[in-house]
Symmetry: C2
Subunit: 417 residues, 2 copies
Amino acid sequence: MLTNASAAVGQRSLGDPSLLFPLDPPLLSGCPRTSGPEMQYPLEIDYDYGKVSAKLFAQPPLPGLQRWAPLLPPLAAHLSLGEGGTALVGSKRIADWIGLAKPIWLKDESRNPTWSHKDRLNYCIVSTAVATGAPGIAVASTGNHGASAAAYARRAGLRCVVISTVGAQPAFEHFQTRLGSDFLLVPPEERWPALCRIIESTGFMPASNLTRFHTGNPFGPEGYKTIAYELFAQLGNCVPGTVVVPTGYGELLFGIAKGFQEMVKLGVADRVPQVVSAEPGVRAPLAHAMARNVAAAEVSGPGSLAAGIACTVSSYRAAVALRTSNGRALTFGESTLGEAVAELAGEGLWQEYSGAAGLAALREARRRGEEVEEPVVAVLTSTGLKDIPATAIVSSSRVRRSLDDLIASLKHERGRQ
Amino acid sequence: MLTNASAAVGQRSLGDPSLLFPLDPPLLSGCPRTSGPEMQYPLEIDYDYGKVSAKLFAQPPLPGLQRWAPLLPPLAAHLSLGEGGTALVGSKRIADWIGLAKPIWLKDESRNPTWSHKDRLNYCIVSTAVATGAPGIAVASTGNHGASAAAYARRAGLRCVVISTVGAQPAFEHFQTRLGSDFLLVPPEERWPALCRIIESTGFMPASNLTRFHTGNPFGPEGYKTIAYELFAQLGNCVPGTVVVPTGYGELLFGIAKGFQEMVKLGVADRVPQVVSAEPGVRAPLAHAMARNVAAAEVSGPGSLAAGIACTVSSYRAAVALRTSNGRALTFGESTLGEAVAELAGEGLWQEYSGAAGLAALREARRRGEEVEEPVVAVLTSTGLKDIPATAIVSSSRVRRSLDDLIASLKHERGRQ
């Protein structure tokens, strides 16, 4: 019998790992002892690993993160929406396109309750909000994160304020309307001040970052560890050679790396994979930080098709993830990203642009002659259904073609075979 | 060790179950011996059940339908996109809204590769197309079915002609564009003639129906049996009291009923649940057929918000499903359907209208005082992301609200608590 209780013992500072704070209150603006104006350090949840049985990893990787409860923050089991347990799909064709010898494994996080990886994070955050008596959730997001936070808040019976910017994808606005969120559209520069005012006025728990360099909610990234646990089981109790991760602020990257490290700590796995970040080359603050060997970086640069991960600042958390997993920071160009989305569609998988980031980064790395340890897992983060701009909708419905033309072209093609 | 081989032995006529046809060629216009102008009878796949081990049902209900290979038509394992293995989410709140005593179980089929139940069907159809050498797939669909057929065709390297009608949801058009389908928009009345011309000219395998009363592709509904297999495992090797199914032509209904019946035949389960259809009341051909005790019915009536299941003809297959599972045909009104979608959103689950059909039908049945055997499973078929009309997108982006107003309202509400 596995225990359902969390083995979490506190919030540990990444700025000084000897500092352990209690689980309550959640520290939502980074480590209060080591952070300063120059750098803000995130916290992570630490556990009494001696209390965790390695048998936890003998279970099948089904949906419902509460099955990993010992290695997660205290969860409200009734809030689960059956997140996780996402499919792993092999592709030889995409491996060929990238330049890999073996099939690549695609971890499709669009199979989650709100069709993105963010559900793993928000189940943990909203559970923490409920456990600590927060009256609501507040999130600044134009996309997946806000949709997911709002969904778990509704499940918990909490109000959710979602601060978005004018020009966000219409699918997200429609989703928020359906969920009955307190949805607020503001100009981009007013987003963070608005979030702070909401939190100060209401005591709502932020599901978004409040510091210059990203520190975020310490409880959220823990949910991403379950991707590592699932991959290990899905690959027949093996660790892959490389895991490539679409990277914005690096919470997903950190969670996956930590999950593998925990399996080594518990004697379940014998090594961690190379954990690789994939950022849009137009900004790529983590790649800058790693190249200059600094804790985090702030950059400027134009936007990317991969809007969900085109950040201008990185986090200390992301650098830790790469440094402790023999990882590296990769980037990709916009045209390669477009090709990657098309390659996925060629396998029947439709991802938003951010979701194809790992494939684009790997292809460019292989073209430069870089070695990549196989087998490779690429994390795909969200559905293409969210990526439809209103303009495309209007224009595509005007495309017409005649039946006769189509039949003629199909016959012509068959005749040549 | 489980065998991976299919135990399928042939195509059996529902018009005369003593008639067994070989698996190849697929019979795509109903039973050729029993069908006539008055009624067309579907076929189903039959198996050598003596070759199937009950141990098949001891495995965890993970994604990838090939794990159920003995009870499915011959599958091309490399074409799987990790379909199935979808989450089962409990809800007390929705049970209360319906008027049930126990929590209701929501089987969320939006967690599939193209975010609908149709992936289970199309994996079987496209596998059959590959096995029988069809040069492509042809489908008449404005929605989920066409998206799914096109995705599996791409995975298989087959061309896919998708015939849709002007005015279909923009998300589907965009998906087809991304998948590189041969997408053809025609007026509604030209859809079926166009499909027939494509099939005659090219030899493409239809993934759509070709007869007046629906007969469809005999291989497809077999994929839906896996929902029954998964439910049994997810409920702790128990059969639910009732399974309610959004119903258009009844393929999903038939597959789920057959899956439970097979488990009884193999000694795995001791009974079948009540399998209940949920049709929009504005048309509801199956409910008409059942009330008049005929094999199938044709009706007219206005459209429904549940566009994907607002059919004007039923199938013999659907009536068989209800008659062999102590089932019944329920309908629902449009306003109840709107409430059901909102109730699901209240749990963080966003379904297209058709996906909430089962909840709406159950609520109306309970309001009439009808008994419903518990526990109840409602099958939710697809994501709300596909249900966004272009008009809603344009209008919702114009909604504005001030930060001050929002904060005032949140404070006011807290003050009253």
